[in-house]
């Protein structure tokens, strides 16, 4: 059974924050935030400015790709988790028909970087990603294009805002399953350029992401989009409540075994979704840390906060396209569409 002892949970909650990654004076051993700098490129003419046309909470459990049986993935399944997969189906339709983005930007918690925020600037990442945690579910051949100009612009803006930010230009770095998962499920044809951002935290060591950092990174992302003139869709590759089983059934897609980890986790996920559906986005700023505390939510990796910050915490309803569990964790596919509500 999972380790849910009170001691473990107390320990998890009280561990120090990891993701404070503002640049520091050389002598300092710990984080000191510097005032965010002005954008490196002041606003251009409005007609030249890009914008965020939609944001998606786009959970990445490899089970969902596994269940789809796409040609890129080696393992075969008999399906499963249809509610979430149908939600993604609707998201794909909207992405193609309504949003027509130039680029999808994803923030993913399983590209774990220990020092700073990294942005994949490799023009054409390709390879085979055998997932070390779920190798029986995900052995995926990827081949996609990066919007390098935008990727570098995000690094520049983040750097100018005082974050430790790095260009990742090494094609040998394996692309992680949270990046692949969200991007495949939003666009299995991979025919839209991508920018992928790392998560500067390790959700398995630390209980609380540096959500303040994600505000700054989100704003830097928005400025980079604006100055490069892109129509961008953002993808926050996060699950919600994140306690889960530590074993799995013989048939991974045995849906008779799939349900919320417990009622507490489910209730907190529903409270979050109610705020989102009501468009009470500003209230999420205070509720998200509480949700993390209560449910060990994966949004502690900061992807959701990054996305909402980039979008300016819009007071518009999020459209919950679907919610269900994967090995007990809560997962929702949600769209924020400023064009529809703004």
């Amino acid at each position: 059974m999972p380790d849910t002892t009170a001691a473990r949970r107390r320990a998890d909650r009280r561990l120090p924050r990891m993701s404070q990654v503002f640049r520091m004076p050389a002598a300092a051993g710990r984080v000191t935030a510097v005032a965010p700098a002005q954008p490196s490129h002041p606003a251009e003419a409005p007609e030249a400015r890009g914008r965020i046309v939609a944001g998606y909470l786009a959970p990445h459990p490899p089970h969902l790709i596994y269940a789809e049986n796409p040609p890129q993935n080696e393992p075969r399944s008999t399906g499963g988790w249809e509610i979430l997969r149908w939600a993604y189906e609707e998201a794909r339709t909207r992405l193609r028909q309504r949003h027509r983005p130039d680029v999808i930007i994803v923030h993913a918690p399983h590209w774990i970087t220990m020092v700073g925020h990294h942005v994949n600037c490799v023009p054409n990442p390709r390879g085979r990603s055998v997932e070390p945690i779920f190798p029986h579910l995900l052995r995926y051949s990827y081949d996609f294009r990066t919007d390098v100009e935008l990727a570098e612009a995000i690094v520049d803006e983040a750097d100018a805002a005082g974050l430790v930010a790095s260009r990742m230009t090494d094609p040998g770095v394996r692309v992680d399953y949270a990046t692949i998962g969200a991007l495949h499920l939003l666009n299995p044809d991979w025919d839209i350029p991508v920018v992928s951002l790392s998560a500067n935290n390790n959700p398995y060591y630390y209980s609380e992401a540096g959500l303040d950092d994600m505000e700054v990174l989100g704003e830097a992302t928005r400025r980079a989009i604006e100055r490069t003139g892109r129509r961008a869709v953002l993808a926050a590759s996060n699950s919600l409540s994140h306690l889960h089983w530590d074993t799995e059934p013989e048939l991974p897609e045995d849906m008779a075994r799939e349900h919320p980890y417990n009622h507490h986790q489910y209730q907190w996920d529903m409270r979050l979704l109610e705020l989102i559906r009501a468009g009470r986005t500003r209230d999420l700023r205070t509720f998200i840390p509480e949700h993390i505390e209560q449910t060990a939510a994966e949004i502690k990796a900061g992807s959701l906060s990054w996305m909402l910050a980039a979008m300016g915490w819009p007071e518009i309803p999020g459209d919950v396209l679907g919610y269900w569990t994967v090995i007990g964790t809560g997962n929702a596919v949600i769209e924020w569409d400023p064009g529809r509500h703004g």
Binding site: P2, D3, R8, R23, P132, V173, D176, Y204, T247
Partner: protein, 275 residues
């Protein structure tokens, strides 16, 4: 029975900085200590190494590396910009020992998975330990993942079952755990000479635990595991210590060969001789 099977044990760091071309003093000292421990372990004539690396962390069941010869080059997703971020590896796996270990794990009521996939990404810690403890790659390895959703005492049982399995298949084994101590990282790019343990409190805790190990009091260290994890952000909440205790390999006084920082985290090289 276990005493006859185990020929020594070690706790070593898995950060790749110990392989740096231009290391910080502490990285160099830690790497040198790992080479020394490797020499000591090999001198006792083990047939195989029983290995746990916290950097191969999993969440479902207990995975056992079952590829006969994982080999390739691993590019670390954080340290790719440095010479030590590109790591070649070529390991041999003791399949008979692994299969018995996994079977014992299932028999004990836990879920075991044999993991055998081409292109499976071997973790940095495993590669680093292989380079320094067994540079010629002569020793086959039996490795289990570190399930972070399983309680620490499950890892302790997994450790005990390693000894059971080694005895059953007639192996003399060295036990190696690859783990950091305090895990607080310096959150900026530093030059090697700037390295230091991130927080004095982490340093005090690390030394307290190492003193207990040096005194032969692993049980005492385990009693403080949760408090240590809480106070010093310990790598995998100290699960490697629980695993080590389970094997029965870390009895008696430990020789703490080296202790120092790696990018703010605590790292130590510790050796236990067979009792």
């Amino acid at each position: 029975m276990a005493d006859a099977t185990i020929v020594g044990a070690a706790l070593v760091p898995g950060m790749p900085h110990v392989l740096a071309d231009a290391p910080a003093p502490s990285w160099k000292a830690l790497g040198g200590a790992m080479r020394e421990v490797g020499h000591r372990l090999r001198a006792t004539g083990p047939d195989a190494v029983v290995l746990l690396s916290t950097q191969w962390f999993t969440v479902l069941g207990h995975q056992f590396q079952h590829h006969p010869n994982p080999s390739g080059t691993y590019v670390d997703e954080n340290w790719y910009g440095y010479d030590y971020g590109h790591l070649d590896y070529d390991h041999r796996v003791d399949l008979e020992l692994v299969e018995r270990w996994a079977a014992e794990t299932e028999r004990d009521g836990m879920q075991a998975r044999l993991t055998r996939y081409d292109d499976f990404p071997i973790d940095t810690g495993t590669i680093v330990a292989g380079h320094l403890l067994d540079p010629d790659g002569g020793l086959p390895v039996a490795q289990v993942s570190c399930n972070l959703y399983a309680p620490a005492d499950a890892l302790e049982r997994i450790g005990a079952l390693a000894t059971t399995a080694a005895t059953a298949v007639g192996r003399r084994v060295a036990v190696v755990v690859v783990t950091g101590l305090s895990a607080g990282l310096i959150q900026r790019w530093i030059s090697p000479g700037e390295d230091h343990i991130l927080e004095p409190g982490h340093d005090r805790w690390n030394r307290r635990i190492l003193d207990l190990l040096a005194a032969g009091n692993l049980a005492g260290a385990l009693e403080q595991r949760e408090a240590y994890a809480l106070a010093a952000s310990v790598d995998s909440q100290g699960r490697a210590l629980a695993f080590l205790a389970g094997t029965g390999a870390a009895t008696g006084r430990a020789d703490v060969l080296e202790y120092g920082p790696i990018w703010g985290t605590g790292a130590a090289v510790v050796h236990w001789r067979p009792q």
